[in-house]
């Protein structure tokens, strides 16, 4: 049974007829030009936008889940995040336990270890660098141990080292039997870490499949309106504009 099964998701004019499914243990990369509906899709999956169509989570309609239960099962890492207050790293990570109404020290410690933020758990988030902060936001979602993790461009502002570190963390999280859906602009990293890719174009699903099926030169050139060179045989895969 699929972890999440999406059928004919509609939110005019931002999303039209999107269908796909994701198994537990898989990592799905959502790619596409700016404004193609990547974030909208993730928000619909998280239940933040009222969309038509069907979303089944673990065989049950996601709409039937009470909000708290849905939040325990599906965690969202938004594209932009900021703390209004000068909270400590530990307190931010503890916020991830709010849907569970507890402060599970084990889950929090594991999340901090997975993201490498444990060393500065007592520091204030507003005193951290952008890369450190991005990992703290991820640790907050991981602390909730969601079965499905939705990450909206989590590596957008990170340097090369932290990009790889975050992608490896998400990959390991999926390998542990969870599902990960990540909106991403870096095709090379998407091809390297994702099991499947979902190419969005104008609010529609243009292609869905393995990286080899989706990342073809003709398709990317048509969707992104620039000539694209694809070499998936290279290690790591190379996808660049010509």
């Amino acid at each position: 049974m699929a972890l999440i099964d999406v059928r004919g998701l509609d939110l005019p004019p931002r999303l039209a007829g999107v269908s796909f499914s994701l198994e537990a243990g898989e990592m799905l990369g959502v790619i596409g030009p700016n404004g193609s509906g990547k974030s909208t899709l993730l928000h619909c999956l998280a239940g933040l936008l009222p969309c038509r169509g069907g979303i089944d989570f673990d065989g049950r309609p996601a709409d039937a889940l009470p909000p708290r239960q849905r939040a325990r099962s599906i965690g969202l890492l938004p594209q932009t995040c900021d703390s209004a207050w000068s909270l400590s790293v530990e307190d931010v990570v503890a916020l991830g336990r709010l849907p569970w109404d507890d402060r599970d020290e084990g889950a929090m410690r594991l999340a901090m270890q997975q993201t490498g933020v444990e060393a500065f758990r007592h520091r204030k988030v507003d005193h951290l660098s952008g890369g450190e902060r991005a990992r703290v936001w991820l640790a907050r979602v991981l602390a909730g141990r969601p079965r499905l993790l939705l990450a909206d461009e989590p590596i957008a502002s990170l340097d090369l080292y932290h990009q790889r570190s975050v992608m490896e963390t998400l990959r390991r999280y999926a390998d542990a039997g969870n599902g990960v859906v990540i909106a991403i602009h870096d095709f090379s990293l998407a091809a390297r870490y994702c099991d499947r890719l979902c190419l969005m174009h104008g609010g529609r699903l243009d292609a869905f499949g393995t990286p080899a099926e989706v990342l073809t030169e003709n398709r990317l050139t048509r969707v992104f309106r620039v000539p694209v060179h694809v070499d998936l045989a290279a290690r790591p895969p190379v996808i660049t504009t010509q």
Partner: protein
């Protein structure tokens, strides 16, 4: 330190309350007076403590707690350390309600409590208008709607002042608006305490939402919180707290804005942990300010609201200056 904050502040409240009971023009044995009053023994000490100082002390504590708690709640909801509880419109609504009583002499049956009763009704009306205007009750809309209703109530208040029937009515109204807890009895507490309890409960039950909102509305909603309902309840609770305290004691400035600022570093900046310590600190601060009012040289008494503003404004300027240097 964060765990000790509330017990220490509660100890401070007890200390200040005792100081308030002991302060006045006549030296009275506080404990003996309290005991006599509780046992119904008719002594001079019992009369001074029970009839004059106890209502004043309890009112100042309740008003301070209401303002401190509402400030902490509203700042948490709006994710803005500069949010003032008066932003809900309830403060100006309460002032307008009381002003109308002074002008038209409404609710004669309520006697001394008539301004308080009208103030509560005014706060309720302003709140209703604000919530209707804000519609979805999204925090960003609440601040705009609250400002709009505050401005409307402020304009109506200015009109009432403009057309005051005689200079004495205007003077009485202006003095009342300056804020004070003197010349009030335990019957005023009967108005304040239910509103304080209900408003406090509404706010306290939303403390998890305030914590979730630290990282923004999107994150809070993704964690299963219904923002519209939660925001409405916090705004309702805040308006009850502010409206009732303004209705009883007039306008006491800067407490709701400043107290959460002072307490926030002591609770590791967590908005959910800020609520009760802010209530305790607000209670201690207003009660202490009222003690200062009584300790000033005899003559024309400075109003409590004037003193809190006079002391609060420089402190606030210092806080802004300190924050500014941090970001330079």
């Amino acid at each position: 330190m964060a765990r000790l904050t509330l017990p220490l502040l509660l100890a401070a409240v007890c200390g200040v309350a005792f100081l308030s009971l002991a302060s006045g023009s006549t030296a009275v044995a506080v404990l003996a007076g309290l005991r006599d009053w509780l046992l119904g023994i008719n002594s001079a000490a019992a009369m001074v403590i029970g009839e004059i100082r106890l209502p004043r002390t309890l009112l100042s504590l309740a008003v301070g707690a209401a303002l401190g708690l509402s400030g902490a709640a509203l700042q948490g909801l709006l994710r803005n350390p500069l949010a003032d509880p008066g932003l809900t419109g309830a403060s100006q609504g309460a002032a307008l309600g009381a002003a109308v009583v002074f002008y038209f002499g409404l609710f004669p049956a309520a006697g001394e409590a008539a301004p308080a009763l009208a103030g509560l009704l005014g706060a309720g009306a302003a709140l209703l208008l604000m919530l209707t205007l804000a519609g979805s009750a999204r925090p960003s809309l609440v601040i705009l709607a609250g400002l709009a209703i505050s401005t409307l109530a402020g304009a109506a208040l200015a009109t009432v002042l403009n057309f005051a029937p005689n200079p004495f009515a205007m003077q009485e109204l202006v003095f009342w608006l300056l804020g004070s807890v003197s010349d009030r009895g335990l019957d005023h507490l009967a108005f304040l305490l239910p509103a304080l309890a209900l408003g406090g409960l509404l706010v306290w039950r939303q403390r998890r939402l305030l914590a979730a909102l630290s990282l923004g509305e999107e994150v809070a909603r993704s964690m299963g919180f219904t923002l519209t309902r939660g925001s409405r309840l916090v705004v309702l609770g805040t308006a009850l707290l502010v409206g009732s305290s303004v209705a009883i004691a007039g306008s006491i400035g800067f407490v709701g804005l400043l107290v959460p600022h002072l307490v926030r570093p002591l609770v590791d900046h967590r908005p959910d942990r800020l609520l009760l310590p802010s209530a305790a600190a607000g209670a201690a601060l207003v009660c202490l300010a009222d003690v200062c009012v009584r300790l000033l040289p005899p003559g024309r008494e400075i109003k409590l609201g004037v003193l809190t503003s006079l002391l609060g404004a420089p402190l606030f300027i210092w806080l802004v200056w300190k924050d500014r240097r941090r970001w330079l």
